[in-house]
Symmetry: C2
Subunit: 211 residues, 2 copies
Amino acid sequence: MKHVVLTIGRTFGSGGRLIGKKVAEKCGMTYYDKELLELAAKESGMSLDVLENIDESAGNSLLYTLSTGGAHLLGAHFAQTAEPPLHDKLYIAQANIIKEIAAKESCVIVGRCADYLLRNMEECIKVFIYAPSEARIKRAVEVYGIPENKAADQIRKIDKKRSGYYNFYSGKKWGNLDNYHFSVDSSLLGIDATADMIAEFVKQRAELLGK
Amino acid sequence: MKHVVLTIGRTFGSGGRLIGKKVAEKCGMTYYDKELLELAAKESGMSLDVLENIDESAGNSLLYTLSTGGAHLLGAHFAQTAEPPLHDKLYIAQANIIKEIAAKESCVIVGRCADYLLRNMEECIKVFIYAPSEARIKRAVEVYGIPENKAADQIRKIDKKRSGYYNFYSGKKWGNLDNYHFSVDSSLLGIDATADMIAEFVKQRAELLGK
């Protein structure tokens, strides 16, 4: 298959991560999610335990951000400014890794502003996966073992963290149609059929790019 | 195939209308777009020529809207208030027709707030089709014969009209992911393959609903 990269944004409990894994298997692509953290820890010398706690969280570094002219310009300004806070260091480390792996291999990348980072790459297919509340609560309880009376709150918190991270570092709005090529409510067909459909989309796009 | 209804929202020049037609053919569903206007003219006794000029346009009826407590409540208040302006009469006529046909037959309905009107219908699949500027300008020139130097402006105007209509009558935001089950950039695979994918989605959803 021609070199393509699939990025997946996802609301918590929509099954986006599992769909990404299944698409990677079906299309023979490498799958990156938490793996990016390990690579970031290795490359930066930061502790994996520390990084796990701040993964996909926006920094609170208002002064630092102002001094760099906006968080989404971090990369460009990093070299000229003082040492950035940990959240921003992790973002920069993961951003560099995402660009490196996307350039060298066909892969699926979940979360971490990958669609934004790779927005100018023709081989990138940007997908967003979501689902209505009921389906997500069901999944949060069954798959993640979250107590039913806490699931809605937990979903809200994790989505807030993800959207905060995305909006802060990209300067764009998480879940806004303009950022994606393809968005789907995974509850309509379920995880497997949704993964099949996205895999088919990826294969057809790869074929077109190969022509 | 089990009874399902596909609604298609679309940005101008994305090929959404043609994709809708192709899906209708592939799935053996009736296709409704301008046909809804003819039905509305017949049912209301209004002139088709007049209706064509105001199709998918929001009314300017601020006083009337305030008196009815918001445009998206029009239906409920219509019976209790004075005769509404023509834009609103057309909206109400089309809304009634959309609900009637959706209840009785498998069909594809393009535009006209159909996703909003049928939001509580389990058999409804809500799709939004869009494409980047370059692809839409190309299509506006080639398919609609709009001069190239006027295409971008024309696209902007028509989208503004469509979003104005949708936002005014639904109280929601046109092109906002939450309103749809499935959104796709038609430029990635092209019209035919996008139609194939949506047809497959519709067939699988119908099968699930039939179980």
